[in-house]
Point group: C2
Chain length 207, copies 2
Amino acid sequence: MSLSASEVNILKHAPAVDGVLPVIHQRWSPRSFAARDVTPADLALVFEAARWAPSSNNEQPWHYIVGVRGSETHAKIAASLAGFNKNWAPNAPVLILGLAHSRFVRNGNPNTYALYDLGAATALLVVQATALGLATHQMGGFDRDAIRTSLGIPEEYALGSVIALGYLGEPDALGDAELIARELAPRTRKPLSEMVHSAWGEPARLG
Amino acid sequence: MSLSASEVNILKHAPAVDGVLPVIHQRWSPRSFAARDVTPADLALVFEAARWAPSSNNEQPWHYIVGVRGSETHAKIAASLAGFNKNWAPNAPVLILGLAHSRFVRNGNPNTYALYDLGAATALLVVQATALGLATHQMGGFDRDAIRTSLGIPEEYALGSVIALGYLGEPDALGDAELIARELAPRTRKPLSEMVHSAWGEPARLG
């Protein structure tokens, strides 16, 4: 069974629940990216979405280093990838490293919400990407020391994820049976009863 | 100048940028909540959105303890609030505490993305709330030891934010000049050039 990119996108939709924003159900993390480039205008829009995320004391601790295919930054981020990620992620036309400033600018105190807020901003980034017909895949599997050195990131900036961004490609282009199987596997989540509680140890009764 | 809740909502929209999802621009963090209750069905939808967030190794480390007005959980969360938050947040019909399991279930190793992933899930929660006409305000200002004790949260669950959720109220209902002024103040963010870089120290040129 050989599926096209758009057939895979439909296969990977989360089970739709009436009233939930379609972009939230449609977002998933593929590994096959098409050759097509992302326009600078679309890139600006995904960061514009991240920009309006909420943050502790409106500190906006997030920073993104963006590498488009052919740039030195893209090559440096690709070179830092670990394991499996090396096999597919360098093909994404855009690789982004998310960073969080771990101190408040106004007083130098530690900002314990820095990574939390980076996660929030990046969630808006990937939802906005979905709305633009783009695919994203965040990775924690990369050599943290190597990327800090090659990109010259100061210690007070905590590393978030590397984000592969581009248009969805065909699963077969992955060329590896295990990666293709993962690309087609159903998406799974715990039931609400395991994540929403009315008190600790008591599942909430929701409508 | 006395503004209604819907007039304030329009005032607080971020400057719209064509192509950015309206719910991302419309979300903001008010302090005035109306008396109107949130239906259990709507509560289920906001958690359903959080449920489909991406997470490191699909660990889904997020947990939410939800207290609706009149419940013991609502009272315990309200009692833990610090400073300013005490003056307005207890009026929200729903108070939620976000938690992140800081160890991988399968092997007990530390999950360094736990809070990052909780931030992401909560970002989807608040965007979904916005889509349902609900307002949200996340707070880091609460007594962490007190809430851990009163709700019985084990140490391996890291505390995220307390989320006030409900329908927007009128600014004047806050009854305090400084809170009313904050409710009406323009929303601000750094420009894209300070958060998106093509290399460290080099603003990215976006379309």
